[in-house]
Symmetry: C2
Subunit: 455 residues, 2 copies
């Protein structure tokens, strides 16, 4: 390990804040740090895990970089198992950049994604599944995702282990049969083994669907605002957001690209999307925008269809409502109810069984009750998501798909015992990736590439 | 202070990172923290300034929030002078939100901007100028701004103090003359006093201009890409950026709003702006975009005028180049040189004395040399900024303007000694705001409203 430069990175997010945390780890971490610290004796004498104040200097440029606090961790009692320092500096981007540059100039190297965790793994300080679980907890932007990661962190992977053991058991039975069995008739064991495999396939199918729902929640519950032009979509977007963002303009087709914003509603992460106006258009760019918006509608959790009370329901809008909103969670919002009663719009929403709400964004009428309806929908969407038990993260999901595929092949060839056994073996081998990844450089690279810098 | 709830805030920037730092400060900070910590004895027995590992729990929801490290600071030996804890947790947005919510549920309150520094000020742990300087260092996105804040942090405010003392001296002399002086003729003292005041006015004028230049650098050196439609502006933008961002499309007028991106070039903070195509248009929204782009050109540090070699120079473009680029730092970029030699474009740039560069973005021809020219310009712009010595931050600048105004009035009324003396007194009184702000709630509110949350 002597040939390895210490790694350094900012562990807190980019951007300006009051403070930032920089980590440096490696056998020579202390030597490197001492090159930029003014109070060298203080650092040398500081007991491990005790925080002290230091002035950081770029000696070459003769320039004070910052006054910081820093904590010394001595190997092996650190996150990585190596000598390590956590520097808490002021959170200015220039400061952080200069401190890291100074450390690199004095012998450190920029840490790649997940490099600290990887060293912790190499030094036996953490196991891979736990490391992945931590990354999952960090990245989760929604409760189901976080609960999955938490379950993994707590080591609750019994369901996955049980799938693994069951496949091995059935495969062993098939092997025994190949060795000793009667070839003429399908034995009871083989039949019950097939049932077991079919049950696993169905479990995995269900879990894959659950994971898709969770993946769909990444970045938050997607609420899309759509409907004909000039109905007040951008105004509604801004009203919900509480601040001006989209360009509001009288000319139809203004919101050409989609505008979206992340926000919190009752502690739920929401991605609010203001969609291009749905209408026939001869303009190329606009048509492109409309294609994008159609696909956004398809993946949205909740559709807010905004339409104007003072405009008659066109045959086109009627078709669009039927086509886009059908079978989805949607709220029909009839705006400009201060001008007219919007009876034809009420009728179509009633006909389609869609909750509707008459509002006037201009006068602020009924906006509160609309928000209440939206919140209820969010609660419903959030609580209706069931938790996976086997496929606890994206990587497990991918392996789950491979396992399922091989099990399906095994099932198809069940009567040709050798081939079925071969596919069961293949299915079982995918567990290697999950549990034996520690020894495989390529798998490790793939996993750590998804980690944060500074983690 | 007993009636004051502890304050809590995330001190690191929002967003997802490996780690985040949460601060809690107040007499009851430890009591509140103990409500959510599992290892209560460990925390109670932990010596101050020693970091330890804790599991945080939401006992009400019976849920583990995170495994964190935390440092205990006991009053008065902390940043705020109060009992304080720094919690280093995993950097997921959900985690951070839940920890802060749990602390608030157990008796803390969300800290407002600069609330920690304000408590430090109240407890005599820091003086206001130093606190402002730290905030200045944090916020600075460019070297001159940072150096100003550093100068202030180091207490190098002699120039400002000298202005203050000089005004007082002249004013005292005027007062003496009012009491004892001859009214008939302008005395030597008065004349030299006037010269002194005029010198201060001119110094302040120069400093205000310097500060404007620095303010103009906030968010980075602004480089604007502009020129006629279809010349390859968005492609150049993406080339410089190194990744796809603006919508590239064959239809003229596509980049309707400005697209901009922050980036680093040779350690300089750059704001690269892709501007709406400058052309006559009948479209309302586009015309709006063009007005915005004109004003962006006026405040840019560097203009990249992109034009196509294969299109003849229109009278309109000629006028636009003369009008927009005149007297500014600009590079004329003649794209599509793989199709034609662009002689008419070369001529106009030569005529206007603008550095030009023939490139082909499609073939990647000459792009490197263009980037070299751009980098040279950035170096020039960055190094040509002189440092202020008196007006070290925005607040000083505002007070400097007020002082200058009063000195100008004094100068105008110099022969009416009483009135001149009155304005000198008024000018002097503004220093109260700088040096006596500690006792003025309103001034403090104004100052701290500009601080970070968690600072």
């Amino acid at each position: 390990m002597n040939d390895r430069k210490p790694i350094v990175a900012q562990s807190t997010p980019k951007g300006t804040g009051a403070l930032a945390l920089i980590r440096i780890s490696g056998e020579d971490a202390f030597t490197v740090f001492l090159q930029i610290v003014m109070q060298t004796e203080r650092f040398k004498n500081a007991p491990p895990r005790k925080i002290s104040l230091y002035t950081l200097m770029d000696h070459e440029k003769k320039k004070v970089l910052d006054e910081v606090t820093a904590i010394k961790y001595t190997s092996p009692r650190s996150f990585t198992g190596e000598n390590m320092i956590e520097i808490i500096c002021h959170g200015g981007e220039v400061i952080i950049r200069e401190i890291i540059n100074a450390l690199i100039k004095n012998g450190a190297q920029q840490a790649s994604r997940g490099a600290f965790t990887r060293r912790a793994l190499e030094n036996g300080k953490i196991d891979l599944l736990k490391a992945e679980a931590i990354q999952g907890i960090i990245e989760s932007t929604n409760e189901p995702d976080r609960l999955c990661a938490q379950r993994m962190y707590d080591g609750k992977i019994n369901a996955l282990l049980s799938v693994k053991d069951t496949i091995l058991k059935v495969q062993t039975e098939l092997d025994a049969e190949i060795e000793f069995g009667e070839e003429e008739r399908i034995s009871d064991t083989r039949e019950s083994g097939r049932e077991t495999i079919l049950r696993i396939i169905s479990d995995l199918e269900k879990e894959i669907r659950l994971r898709e729902k969770i993946t769909n929640l990444i970045g938050g519950i997607r609420i899309i605002i759509t409907g004909p032009t000039n109905a007040g979509k951008s105004t509604l977007f801004n009203t919900i957001l509480g601040f001006q963002r989209a360009l509001v303009h009288h000319e139809p087709g203004t919101t050409r690209d989609m505008v979206s914003e992340r926000m919190l509603i009752d502690d739920h992460e929401i991605k609010l999307i203001d969609c291009a106006g749905i209408r026939e258009t001869s303009n190329d760019v606009e048509r492109q925008g409309i294609i994008i918006s159609r696909s956004a509608i398809n993946t949205a959790h909740l559709i807010l269809w905004v339409t104007a009370a003072n405009e008659t329901l066109s045959e086109n809008e009627k078709q669009e409502i039927k086509a886009n909103v059908f079978g989805k969670r949607a709220i029909g919002i009839i705006n400009k109810c201060d001008i007219e009663d919007g009876a034809s719009k009420v009728a179509i929403f009633k006909e389609e069984g869609i909750t509707h709400c008459l509002i006037s964004l201009k006068q602020g009428k009924n906006v509160d009750s609309l928000l209440t309806i939206v919140k209820k929908e969010i609660d419903f969407i959030s609580s209706s998501i069931e938790m996976p038990e086997i496929l606890l993260n994206k990587r497990f999901e991918e392996l789950g798909k491979k396992i399922m595929l091989d099990l399906l092949k095994a099932d198809k060839e069940w009567n040709r015992t050798e081939i079925a056994a071969h596919y069961l073996k293949k299915a079982y081998s995918h567990f290697e990736e999950i549990f034996g990844a520690n020894n495989n450089e390529e798998i490790l690279n793939r996993i750590f590439d998804n980690f944060c810098i500074g983690k």
